[in-house]
């Protein structure tokens, strides 16, 4: 998803009258206003308001506000609550992204071959793209819930211990994302020119060597893209925690977003806004990584 050379640009075309240019500009404004108005009203204006709210404290009714300055942002973002949320997000990321990418690679390489009935397996592997976060959480409720789950006695999935609880939650995310991961890696595999594979066969590469030396490097950009997508997903984790652990035990599965939703009342709004800014910076960093990855991909491709 990179900017393309504008093939329809007709700035330099001769014979375009001034009135025509004005007409085109007017039409463009009319066509862009609906989308841009929504973006301004629900993306940029609220972002700016976040800065405002993070600098003020409100009274209990939310009717008046008092300037408290940047200290509120600093105190919130260095406070124990935000640090715990950040830690949970980072752990969750570590638990979901590498396993997710590896499993996707495993599923896609296995299903990328010429076999009778392979379509059935491909459909099964991609099926979880239809699952919502909430559905996947309910599905894993039947497995990991401490009273009703099939694995309720498995200690490394126990919901009453911080790490195992987060791991149990992360399984539901890994499972839900497998469909997307599979679909993306499979498309990546199928974009590898067959001549390259055939040449490596002729060169006497063993299947494993071919996989490690040819397939994985050529898939590199796709896998990086996937890692970024899954990372963004990890920073948005919320529903699976709410349904499976309620954030517990002792806040051990409360992500930053989870904590933000608890700070929506007037009294805490300044802190909630500060945390939202923190989340904005974090996702901004991921987005920057995404951009540099995508730019590298373009050089690869061309």
């Amino acid at each position: 998803m990179t900017d393309t050379v504008d093939r329809h640009s007709n700035v330099d075309r001769p014979g375009r009258s001034r009135s025509r240019r004005v007409g085109e500009a007017v039409a463009a404004v009319a066509l862009l206003v609906p989308a841009l108005a929504i973006f301004v009203a629900f993306f940029f204006w609220p972002l700016w308001r976040l800065v405002h709210y993070s600098l003020y404290q409100q009274n209990l009714q939310g009717t008046r506000e008092r300037w408290v300055g940047p200290s509120q942002i600093v105190e919130t973002l260095t406070g124990a609550d935000f640090r715990q949320g950040l830690w949970v997000n980072v752990l969750f990321l570590i638990m979901t992204v590498p396993i997710g990418v590896l499993l996707g690679l495993l599923l896609a390489t296995s299903a990328n071959r010429r076999l009778r009935g392979i379509k059935i397996f491909q459909t099964i592997f991609s099926s979880t793209v239809a699952s919502s976060v909430a559905v996947s959480a309910v599905v894993f409720f039947t497995l990991v819930n401490d009273q009703a789950g099939y694995f309720k006695d498995v200690s490394w999935l126990a919901l009453d211990k911080p790490l195992s609880a987060l791991f149990a939650v992360s399984l539901s995310s890994i499972w839900r994302n497998l469909g997307l991961t599979f679909v993306i890696v499979l498309a990546g595999l199928q974009a590898i020119p067959e001549e390259i594979q055939e040449a490596s066969v002729l060169d006497g590469y063993s299947p494993i060597r071919r996989f490690l030396r040819i397939t994985v490097p050529l898939l590199g950009p796709t896998l990086l893209f996937l890692a970024v997508v899954l990372t963004v997903d990890a920073f948005q984790a919320y529903a699976q925690m709410e349904l499976l652990t309620g954030g517990g035990p002792g806040g051990a599965t409360e992500t930053i977003l989870f904590k933000i939703t608890k700070l929506a009342g007037p009294r805490d709004f300044g802190q909630g806004a500060s945390m939202s800014l923190g989340l904005f910076v974090l996702t901004g960093l991921v987005a920057a990584a995404q951009f540099s990855v995508l730019n590298r991909r373009v050089h690869y491709g061309n």
Binding site: A35, S110, A111, S127, A137, V139, I184
Partner: protein, 311 residues
């Protein structure tokens, strides 16, 4: 990139019609083919278990007698005292019908709105010249990088100030706050613009000579020609909207206007001997999107992979 996106979807189609995975195995190891194939079937079946097992357990628990499941000394892989009525009870006792319809309504409205705003904006970016074009496109791309979660609190505040989000919100308030923020989508503008950029440069000039105005050209020529890309966008938009959780969770404060996803919250609060209902509800909630996936698999996949793979 525009043309590449199309090529990607085409290449998926080409290969799925028979050329896929011709890694040379067939020509180089004809004798081992049988055994190798069998081994791959075993591997594929085992891997399928990773996906299917959690779903199987959900189905098992939905159709089992919940009390007997709790009393059983060992958790069972098979249904205990099968009773199918959980699926009907989810509607009668769980009241699933209303949220299901409400979710479908919201999804249709949002997807239609997104499609319309994306089409006209994509047309402007692809075919028109105007000042600050790059800047405006930058604004659109920027929203791609800003997850709704970041501005969750302030958007809630906006709607609270409007009186649309409150414990006694009415249908209009719930409907408005659930749809309005999502009536435009940067992904749609981006994808459809790429589709339009893949059209021949002179197509619009020719249409213009024939007296086509902007809208007539857009809906009579550009849209039909880029139908595959538009279909992909509609599908991923439907999927994302129907499956939304975080925003509806905050925006719906009157339980009457729960979306289908929000009703699944019941699993955490339900009495243990009634847990079969939310399990059935989760399966029912998946039916519309699963149906879409099965019917439009190819278009959906090309939408999901656009941008991920350069063809």
């Amino acid at each position: 990139m525009a043309t590449e996106t199309i090529e990607t979807s085409d290449s998926i189609r080409d290969r799925s019609s028979g050329r896929r995975g011709a890694t040379g195995r067939r020509t180089t190891v004809p004798h081992g083919l049988r055994g190798a194939n069998l081994a791959w079937y075993v591997v594929l079946t085992l891997l399928s278990m990773v996906i299917v097992f959690p779903l199987w357990m959900t189905l098992v628990r939905a159709i089992s007698n919940p009390t007997k499941v709790l009393l059983a000394p060992e958790p069972s892989l098979l249904p205990v005292d099968i009773q199918w009525n959980a699926f009907t009870q989810a509607f009668t006792e769980g009241g699933l019908g209303r949220p299901l319809l409400f979710s479908l309504l919201l999804t249709v409205v949002i997807v239609s709105a997104q499609l319309f705003t994306s089409l006209i904006a994509a047309y402007a970016f692809a075919f028109l010249e105007f000042p600050f074009k790059r800047l405006m496109f930058g604004i659109v791309v920027a929203t791609l990088l800003l997850p709704v979660e970041v501005t969750l609190l302030t958007n809630i505040k906006t709607f609270q100030n409007l009186g649309w989000i409150s414990p006694n919100q009415d249908f209009g308030g719930a409907f408005g706050s659930l749809t309005l923020p999502f009536t435009a989508a940067a992904v749609g503008i981006f994808l459809i613009r790429q589709g339009f950029l893949g059209l021949p440069r002179d197509l619009r000039d020719a249409a213009e000579l024939d007296g086509y105005g902007h809208l007539k050209f857009l809906f009579k020529i550009a849209v039909p020609v880029t139908r595959p890309i538009i279909a992909s966008f509609v599908l991923i938009s439907f999927l994302g909207t129907y499956n939304q959780y975080v925003w509806p969770r905050q925006a719906v404060q009157n339980d009457q206007y729960n979306t289908i996803q929000l009703t699944l919250r019941a699993v955490a609060g339900q009495r243990l001997d009634q847990l079969n209902l939310p399990f059935a509800a989760a399966l029912i909630a998946s039916v519309p999107v699963l149906a879409l996936l099965l019917i439009f698999q190819r278009q959906l996949i090309s939408g999901l992979t656009a941008g991920a793979v350069k063809g």
